[in-house]
Symmetry: C2
Subunit: 390 residues, 2 copies
């Protein structure tokens, strides 16, 4: 058996960053910016008023000054003339500052009568001007890689980028294996259960930026597995769930091997999720996850999520961990890294009482995977521990 | 002017939880479960083996016991007979436990020769059986409302729910207003800038579960605004951006009023984002946001996000706040609640130096909105402050 970190290192050798594609800006949120993207213009493209008021010459911005209003500058409609001594221009927020004007007097500081204004005694001292390019200048770049957030989308719009180069979404083919499985909505036989892993993993992986295809369930025989692997053609990553253990009925590794899988490793010292298999096959990465529902989801978080991020160009790193204090003690851990289902409470992190890897009801109530290192000693209330947000 | 909390209270009176719709399970992640959903079966539906091994009678599980293997139970293929004294059944993980068997001896604890097994000297004392219904029983419910996470999707699959009742996504119509705006990809005139707010808000609102429609830019004249409002028909929430201030060119409130808007309020004591307008119009909620890009995005986070959550049935509550220590001091705040763009650093929260509401480049670098209450005194390094995750 190898450690979780060793397994991750090997998994990273199976994948590489994918190529980029151009998408409309309105579809780019959550995608990964694939290369540095430059502003196509200055913002603002001119010195602009930051308030509604009057554009004047700085040396005339004195209490009691009387000025003649010679025109108006609105957003989208600048004033073409020049503000000469004794003159002012009515100006609105976002409007270009007219030539000659070097300060905006806010309208609250002005008394107006016809085309004459008088500046009040207490003038707001700020110029209320946004210099040209004060937000960004033409050629300034948003750096890649970067997972695009809503504020980035607004910034890219403002830079006049109507389309965005993003890394293509990795395509993941999900294959459940087992004679015991039927799809949700079917009527299971007396010895059967409902396939749940592919649905949970699809939701998990698509949240990370992948596209997941749920393939037909593969049965515990060679032709059925061959058919399923054939249907995975074109995927960047083929994930099988179940059938990777040592039981006599576990044919996945055998069939994958016959189909040319170059196996990178077989078992990882972790709980839940010991039976893990990985390699490359027909131009795709292949990972075999254990069939217990909790094991499959935990392995998805621990192994598949970093692989997806690596394919998206976000680097080859394990899922980032947070720290919290324990609100309940923990016994010593054994020789396998343990990902315990846990809840974040106001008092701290509490591991769930029931940790059996078949219990989806426990997993659904958990919001953290508490990481116990190999041979971690017993831990007391208040000890700092690491966890994965779940 | 009213406070942010008063404004939110009024905004909540403009919206109500939307009706539910049934979606395929594979499309349900991130949606809001609209009513309690019951398990259609027990899981596991039978007492099942948790390991690969041999099913035996508990009273015969003794070191050195010799038993005859009379058959095999695999996942999906149970053993029909009964395990009588002196007998054992080969069993695999997930298989139904045969009648008569009450314990599973893991295969590592067994020596086999032909159809005879001998139990080893040191037997793992655990029964390795998952009782029927130990994950959940038929009729056990997942409670609504609940934003469905990947583990919930797996659990709902396991409960045999092929479709899920979720709250319909609120439809939001986004209208930018202003003669100065052009769409990304166009060539702006010398006095023009690129419309960015609708793109940023669409990304923000869709991440919260809404569907956002970007409408054509409305110009600063009555017919153009009437056309835009007409195109918003069918939306649950109509959002205008810009044109809600006091400037002479701000016609949005006037046109909305002519079209029947019942105005709930006009201005909120906050920075950025003072000019805010809201009411109901033609069966939809209507909110007028300020046009400064940062103001629009901050108001989206502070006001629109809670409205979306309320429409999704998640309750009428302001966006949840986190706390952090300051890593840099802050001056006293004025009479308006201030949402400062800030960054979370290892040392604590640091407000950005430049807080002008036109600076999208600053917003894109921020990962927090630091909340300064009205008249908050000066704050020192190490003081605890509240912020919104951004």
């Amino acid at each position: 058996m190898i450690t979780v970190d060793e397994a991750l290192e090997k998994l990273f050798t199976l994948v590489a960053p994918l190529e980029s594609e151009e998408v409309p800006l309105a579809e780019a949120v959550g995608r990964v910016l694939a290369c540095d993207l430059a502003a196509r213009r200055d913002q603002p493209p001119f010195a602009a008023s930051a308030m509604d008021g009057y554009g004047v010459r700085e040396d005339e911005a004195q209490p009691g000054a009387r000025l003649k209003v010679i025109g108006e500058a609105a957003a989208g409609h600048g004033f073409d003339g020049v503000v000469n001594p004794g003159q002012a221009v009515r100006i609105f927020t976002g409007a270009p500052l007219p030539a000659g004007a070097s300060r905006v007097i806010i309208q609250e500081d002005v008394s107006r009568s016809g085309d004459q204004i008088t500046l009040n005694d207490n003038l707001d001292p700020k110029p209320h001007i946004r210099p040209k390019g004060c937000d960004f200048g033409v050629g300034e770049v948003m750096g890649a890689p970067r997972v695009l957030r809503p504020a980035d989308i607004a910034l890219l719009a403002s830079m006049n980028n109507a389309t965005v180069p993003v890394t293509r979404r990795p395509v993941v083919a999900l294959i459940s294996t087992g004679d015991e499985l039927v799809m949700p909505g079917e009527t299971p036989g007396p010895d059967q259960i409902i396939a749940s892993n592919t649905f949970g993993l699809k939701a998990l992986l698509e949240g990370l930026g992948a596209r997941a295809r749920i393939l037909p369930i593969a049965r515990d025989n060679i032709p059925s597995l061959e058919t399923a692997f054939g249907l995975a053609a074109g995927a960047d990553l083929v994930v099988t769930i179940g059938g990777a253990s040592v039981g006599d009925h576990d044919l996945v590794g055998q069939v994958a091997g016959q189909m040319g899988m170059d196996r990178a490793f077989y078992k990882v010292a972790m709980r839940p999720g010991k039976p893990l298999m990985a390699g490359r096959m027909s131009g795709a990465a292949m990972v075999g996850l254990p069939g217990n529902p909790v094991s499959a989801m935990v392995c998805g978080q621990v192994f598949l999520a970093p692989m997806i991020r690596a394919m998206l160009g976000l680097g080859a790193q394990r899922s980032s961990r947070l720290t919290a204090r324990l609100a309940a003690p923990l016994p010593q851990n054994g020789p396998r890294e343990h990902y315990m289902r846990a809840r974040l409470t106001p008092e701290g992190l509490v591991a769930e009482t029931r940790q059996d890897s078949s219990l989806l009801s426990v997993l659904a109530e958990a919001d953290a995977l508490l990481v116990r290192p190999v041979n971690d000693p017993a831990r007391a209330v208040g000890d700092k521990v690491e966890y994965l947000d779940f």
